[in-house]
């Protein structure tokens, strides 16, 4: 089974959004038991990373980006996708790591996130 699902996410233009539950829901809807799920974006100034979704840590990430990278260009260093295994029907991501869209574009609006699931499903 291969499914490509487009997700629209509303963004104020400078934000980190936790996508994990949305991704988990899609995987369950598709009935995937074993496989891989890639979460990807091609939106300008946006990246998809794995990180604990905690306020202080996100502030530390913001400071790192501002001090060491140029925010808009940071997408190139942070990655356009994060890929996670699915085993026994669930994301094997651990208890703390989350799948996060980081938007540094400064442009508000709907942003597209593409979820690709490759796997075995319930028969």
């Amino acid at each position: 089974m291969i499914e490509v699902v487009k997700l629209k996410v509303n963004s104020p233009g400078y934000v980190a959004i936790d996508l994990t539950e949305e991704v988990r829901r899609k995987v369950k809807e598709l009935g995937t038991t074993t496989g891989i799920v890639s979460v990807f974006t091609n939106e300008q100034g946006c990246a998809i990373i794995g990180i604990e979704y905690e306020t202080g840590l996100l502030a530390d990430l913001e400071r790192l980006i501002k001090e060491k990278l140029k925010p808009v260009v940071a997408e190139a260093f942070m990655g356009s996708s994060f890929t996670v295994p699915v085993v026994s029907g669930d994301l094997m991501i651990g208890g703390f790591k989350r799948i996060v869209l980081v938007d540094l574009s400064g442009k508000s609006g709907e942003k597209e996130v593409i979820i690709t699931v490759v796997g075995n499903a319930h028969s």
Binding site: G35, I36, G50, E52, D60, L64, F82, P85
Partner: protein
């Protein structure tokens, strides 16, 4: 074909590499051509496929994300290094060989303490005569 295999590894840091290349090569033998996703569960390890010396990688980490930089989150340096190294790597396979060239695959245990880490290999591909399921 599609398979998933989980291995457990006892690790310790700080910034200690654990070579997973042989496990990767074993996994690649299952398919003639395909893709292997390697993922380490957790918020503070790293997974890197590199041809550089470990010292070069560690020095770069220390320069960009130092251990102590007045962070708000207690062990922020470990989380940030993990996010930038990533915990997932996808590797193409042809004729049962992972196309890694001169690179080697390492799990990096960033923090000092001992941990039991789960590493997951998901292999998608066209089967090999030597495949074991």
């Amino acid at each position: 074909m599609l398979t998933a295999r989980v291995i457990k590894l006892l690790t310790h840091g700080p910034m200690k590499p654990f070579d997973l290349t042989d496990e990767l090569k074993k996994e690649a033998k299952k398919v003639k051509k395909g893709l292997i996703l390697v993922h380490v569960e957790g918020a503070t390890p790293g997974l890197i496929l590199t041809s550089f010396s470990r010292e070069d990688v560690w020095n770069l980490c220390s320069e960009i994300i130092p251990v102590d930089a007045d962070y708000e989150h207690g062990n922020a340096y470990a989380h940030l290094r993990s996010s930038f190294m990533s915990t997932s790597v996808e590797i193409p396979v042809v004729e049962g060989e992972p196309l890694i060239g001169q690179r080697r695959l390492y799990l990096v245990e960033i923090e000092p303490r001992r941990r039991m880490r789960k590493v997951i290999f998901v292999t998608v591909g066209e089967g090999s005569d030597r495949a074991s399921t």
